[in-house]
Amino acid sequence: MNVNSNQEDLLTVPHRLTASWREPAGVFVNRMLLAMRDKAELWAVKCPICERILFPPEIVCAMCKVRIEDKDENWVRLGNEGTVLKFYHVTGSREVDPSTGWHPKGQTFNPIGLIMPDGGNKWTVMAHVLEETDTSKLYDGIRVKAVWKKREERQGLMSDIKFWSIVEVEK
């Protein structure tokens, strides 16, 4: 028998890989998440040298290469409202089974906003879900407020905020 490159029966074997990891958040992010869960508060830290306000908080300022000390003066409380700097909306599926080409239909998602919460500065940007699905109602600079889940549903995750909804501006 010779190796026949016209061989028709070319086999592919599907295999499913599952794995799970358990990870901690780290000191500062843990505290930030506990504040979200227990008090519906948003906290960031500020680098004492370059004054970037970082959300989520980091223990080292990457730019200045200094530790941000765990002191009250380095923690910054952010407001419950913010400004959408930019937003985008993804439609269409992303998960495809390579063996069969199958993909789940009708994957629709809410738009995502890049939000600067009040009390932050130009380095404070949070990506989160916007409630408004009609993107014609959204624009750069629109004001939004965080809508939180009920206390018993909050777990210390970013999704403790359900979404950000438009703040109606008084005319």
Binding site: R16, N30, A35, D70
Partner: protein, 151 residues
């Protein structure tokens, strides 16, 4: 906001679940389809060093020759080493205890990993002769061989 008292530590679980599709390629497909369709085990033979590689592969590991010649090897062989698995893992196709062995099939220069069945693990010896037991319902997989039994 700085640390006042010992804090609860949050742990998050990250889950990965994705489907992959392994391509056997021309040579491995032939190896698998010969098992599936004809209950035959084939290897590839290197024209330069004469090594017979089982399962069949496309390039000689030793001399980098492209392997062009399939050779049929026997479905019987010799146990060169084995181990008994006692601990369960989700990805094992069998429940413990079971025996994994490296079997050199007659005609092959390499070992072939598979199970040994129809025998008590205590009775298995290095050097014993075994023979493949094929499944009735074969799909083109090395598991189309159920196990090797002593002869």
């Amino acid at each position: 906001m700085s640390a006042a008292a010992p804090e609860e530590i949050l742990i998050s679980e990250r889950n990965f679940d994705s489907i992959f599709s392994y391509t056997a390629g021309t040579v491995r497909s032939k190896f698998l389809t010969e098992i599936r369709d004809n209950k035959k085990i084939v290897g590839t033979k290197c024209r330069r060093c004469n090594t017979v590689w089982v399962p069949a592969r496309s390039t000689c590991v030793k001399c980098f020759e492209s392997l062009k010649d399939f050779v049929e090897v026997s479905d019987r062989g010799t146990v060169t080493t084995y181990t008994v698995i006692n601990v369960h893992q989700t990805f094992y196709p069998m429940n413990p205890p079971f025996v994994l062995a490296i079997i050199q099939l007659d005609g092959a220069d390499t070992g072939f990993v598979h199970f040994i069945g129809e025998t008590d693990p205590e009775d298995i010896k290095v050097g014993m002769r075994v023979s493949a037991v094929f499944k009735e319902d074969r799909k083109g997989s090395v598991l189309d061989i159920k196990y090797f039994k002593p002869i």
